[in-house]
Amino acid sequence: MTTLLEFKQVSKQYGADTRALSNVNFTVKQGEFVSIIGPSGAGKSTLLRCINRMIDASGGEIMFEDSNIMGLNKRGLKQLRSQIGMVFQHYNLVDRLSVIENVLHGRLGYKSTLEGVLGLYSKEEKRRAYTILKTLGLEEQIYKRCDQLSGGQKQRVGIARALVQDPKMLLCDEPIASLDPNASIIIMNHLRDICTTMGITVIVNLHQVEVALKYSDRILGVNKGSVIYDGPPAGIKREQLTRIYGSEIEEHIGELEKQHAG
């Protein structure tokens, strides 16, 4: 498998003395399912947003498909972002618009400004949006307004919006943190499915260690802006969790042992 994304000595500084990321190195191969775990404020979100430059890293190199994205101009950035889908904890949909309109927003990156402003989408794009919504089990809701949907449905719309971009990579920022357990399972299964069947690389920020271990090909453990652990889920034991989570460890170990027992 080819390397899709590579971080080389990436760091991010907020203000004078807040260091969100320090010398982060890792690579992600095409088609991998990678979970980033770590305590709150460890820099998970910053790390994820550096990939599509929603946040600009202050140092190092980020290679996406062998080109350094740090030096992209406005046009290049638009191109990069249209190839990377993003899914959010709070779904971030336009509540007053219908499901299909929200999904088609994913195509804006491919459109000229005028087409996007007027909302002119081709038949092909609409068909694609419909197919994706159908696979995610939302064909009944297509013309519903987004504020009438449940949390799990909203998140599926969010995923559909990312998928309609035909992305090479999907970034998910705490996709299940606001969902109930059943909806969480549905969303995680969809993400895993997208990775396996469509071959799209998925990077997920997660709070739930057991979910990360269950679904991922690889785990990145982050603490205080550094990558502490980079390896397969099987390598995560009590000792590694202690290093990743520090004092917050107890609850997570409980979860881990429950899982091993069951």
Partner: protein, 286 residues
């Protein structure tokens, strides 16, 4: 347990209870309440002094009130058009309405773009602060004064009225619009940005659809204000319309009954506007 007993014994003592009651009743006498009392006292004294020293010009106060009420009675119970016909009045009201519509339209279009630039979540903070400071200065000066200021260049009349009223409408709507835009969740903007959408695309696909109902209700609000201002402008700035007829009826012909009729006209139109506005708002807010 012991402390609870202590508490009940204290409450049983009459003296102690009285002391607590006294403390609860007494309003704390501090500098603030002193200032309030002094101000009220000053106002009362000024009122009494004013009434005592008015130059009444030999008008009997009581009779004056009676005759004023009589005038009001004639105005509103015996309304009649004498110098203009019903059709004239209708034409003049529609001119006033047109003045209000035109200024709201101009103001709305310009304010939409300025409002986008003034919304903190859509532009850089400095530009937003500059625009907001500018419009709050314009808003602080009343519409009538702006019309008179523009009358220096354009001469008294409809041109000055349109420019002045548009000016004030812009400042009012920029504030209203930009605050509606700021209501939008930052996450939505982030989501569209992360899919590669440009600023204009985000504005038209997310920001305006999300705030459309606010925009419409603020615009109608301003339209109603502009209607009232347009009536006044007819009289004060010679902008034409029903306001001018009212001005003529009152200070040229001294025709109280015609003033009453024109007032009813304006009232009827204001009510119709209100009804239409609420109908449209209801339709949109599905």
């Amino acid at each position: 347990m012991k402390s609870l007993e202590g508490l009940t014994t204290i409450h049983d003592k009459d003296a102690e209870r009285e002391r607590i009651d006294a403390r609860l009743k007494a309003k704390p006498f501090n500098k603030q309440s002193l200032v309030i009392r002094l101000t009220l006292l000053g106002l009362i004294l000024l009122t009494v002094y004013g009434f005592a020293t008015f130059d009444y010009k030999e008008i009997d106060f009581f009779n004056a009130i009676l005759s004023a009420l009589d005038t009001v009675k004639t105005m509103f119970f015996l309304p009649r058009l004498s110098h203009i016909t019903f059709l004239d009045a209708l034409t003049q009201v529609s001119i006033t309405l047109a003045l209000a519509f035109l200024t709201t339209l101009f103001g709305g279009i310009i304010a939409l773009f300025l409002g986008l630039l003034a919304a903190r979540n859509l532009t850089n903070p400095r530009l937003s602060a500059v625009i907001k400071a500018g419009v709050s200065f314009i808003r602080a000066v009343p519409t009538v004064l702006w019309v008179l200021i523009f009358a220096i260049a354009a001469g008294l009349g409809s041109v000055a009225a349109v420019i002045g009223m548009t000016f004030h409408s812009i400042s009012y709507l920029v504030k209203a619009y930009s605050e509606s835009f700021e209501e939008l969740d930052d996450g939505v903007i982030e989501a569209l940005k992360s899919s590669g959408a440009s600023w204009w695309q985000i504005v038209f696909q997310a920001v305006i659809p999300s705030s459309a109902t606010y925009l419409i209700s603020w615009t109608f609000m301003r339209f109603e204000i502009n209607f009232a201002v347009a009536v006044a402008m007819g009289a004060a700035a010679g902008a034409g319309g029903i306001g001018y007829d009212m001005f003529m009826a009152s200070s040229f012909y001294y025709d109280v009954r015609e003033i009453g009729m024109i007032t009813y006209f304006i009232l009827a139109f204001a009510v119709i506007l209100e009804v239409i506005a609420s109908r449209i708002k209801k339709k949109i807010r599905v």
